[in-house]
Amino acid sequence: MRDVYIIGAGMTQFGKHPQRSLRDLGREACHQALRDAGISPGDIQAGYCGNALGSVIQGETGVGQNVFWEIGINQIPIVNIENACASGSTALREGWMAVAGGFCDVVMVVGVEKAVMPKGTMLDVGAAELDTKLGDVFPGYFALVAQKHMELYGTTRQQIAGVSVKNHFNGTLNPYAQFQKLFSLEDVLNSPMVADPLTLYSCCPNSDGAAAVILCSGRKARQLAALPVRIAASVLTTGTYDNQQDITAWEVEKLAAVTAYQSAALGPEDLDMVEVHDAFTICEIIHCEDLGLCAPGDGGRLIDEGITELGGRIPVNSSGGLLSKGHPVGASGVAQVVEILWQLRGAAGKRQVANPRVGLAQIMGGSKEGDTRACTIHILIKE
């Protein structure tokens, strides 16, 4: 396998873009990434597009061809990827494999989504699933996980809500974030209850937006990039759907983490910053545990002790996370990696982490029988 580098990144502001199309949002992110890398559309040898809901919400399929065509990329292989919230990060892994495997020298990965819903409604996805027909909803499933974590480990509502306070603070420092507003613990706890114990501000918003990165081989990276960042691990796992398992941890994520750490030849103690899938506050607490940032059950203490704050030992979701930056489903996995690239380059502005060298991005997508359909982990290293 060859080493794979990221040489360009771009993203749109995340938020509400009612007047803009999927292809228009995707074009903006791709254009930025091309300019950032200093290459032209003709240099791209393959394109990978993550989009989860276009066929459901917009009635649009083949989003990748639409987006890449907007910036003049055609004729080459273009692949559309749907893996729920992990669509963008799965697209990234496909691009990584193409370069690592020696099939391409330069590829582009884009994630794009328009998921803003009418006020007070939830995304209607998975309608064909039995659990959904019986009343299972995304915040409900994660509320069950939170209830069990509270019961088993004594995790408190304040600790869980503290994730939202921290990430919204980070979001105020990120011009690309949907929310640019500080929330107090009381704001989060007293916002309308969605699924007990998760309140409205414990849930990420549905968002519109796009993010793109350009990957290349080592030889190309040395020609093109002043500060190459290497993808040291790219891992995708799927659940066991064993319905007797403990729901306060995700085996699918622990497996991905072990595999990623082996692949990158490092461990959680070597990480300088982490972006995790905080679609709901409780998720960040458990992801920190599954990734080995703390012991199982200690995720709430990370919040109490400020360990995952911007100035803490291991900043988590410096971008504001999905909670504050927003969650354009298919774009989120790519946007996490854009954030890490910017941080490793020292280009993260007011939310810059002090001299990071290693960053990890984790996201997972799709619930099935109390387990998860897809979990990806990417580890990036500044060389």
Binding site: M122, D124, L130, K133, V137, M193, A195, Q244
Partner: protein, 150 residues
């Protein structure tokens, strides 16, 4: 909160449709308790609900036989949802995971027969068939729920 019903003895001419085929006999036979239709692997003993065609662990070495799940369960985790579901279930409603100890299986189900906030982990519950929601034509969509053990 609606009471558990015996769908075959409905006094009105309401149309009642199971939420999905193959989960339970509907309408149930006279005098029969409702039961969830499952299967289990003769090789490893694992239970599956809804039924599967292959045991994921034993594949062709397993042979699946039809069983019905025990009607008694214990709540593993519960939440109360305060927004009506996209499928049309009116808020607030309680649902969660129920362990069926006799069959070593955990299933997701709505709760009924008590206030949504009164359910808690460890509570003993039993199976009923009940309306999950009414659709746009006024038809009752029938599914399984669990109520506090009487």
């Amino acid at each position: 909160m609606s009471e558990a019903i015996n769908p075959s003895q409905s006094s009105e001419n309401q149309i009642r449709i199971p939420v999905q085929e193959g989960l339970f006999d509907f309408p149930p036979d006279e005098g029969q308790h409702p039961a969830l239709l499952a299967n289990s692997c003769r090789h490893c003993g694992k239970c599956f609900f809804p039924k599967r065609t292959f045991c994921p662990d034993c594949f062709e070495q397993g042979e699946l036989e039809d069983i019905v799940l025990d009607r008694k369960g214990v709540i593993y985790a519960v939440t109360v949802v305060h927004l009506s579901s996209p499928s049309g279930i009116k808020a607030p409603y309680a649902y969660g995971y129920v362990n069926i100890p006799a069959n070593k299986i955990r299933i997701l189900a709505p709760f009924t027969g008590a206030s949504p906030n009164s359910f808690h982990a460890g509570m003993e519950v039993e199976l009923v068939l009940d309306t999950i929601r009414t659709d746009s034509k006024g038809q009752h969509i029938i599914g399984y729920k669990f109520k506090p053990l009487s």
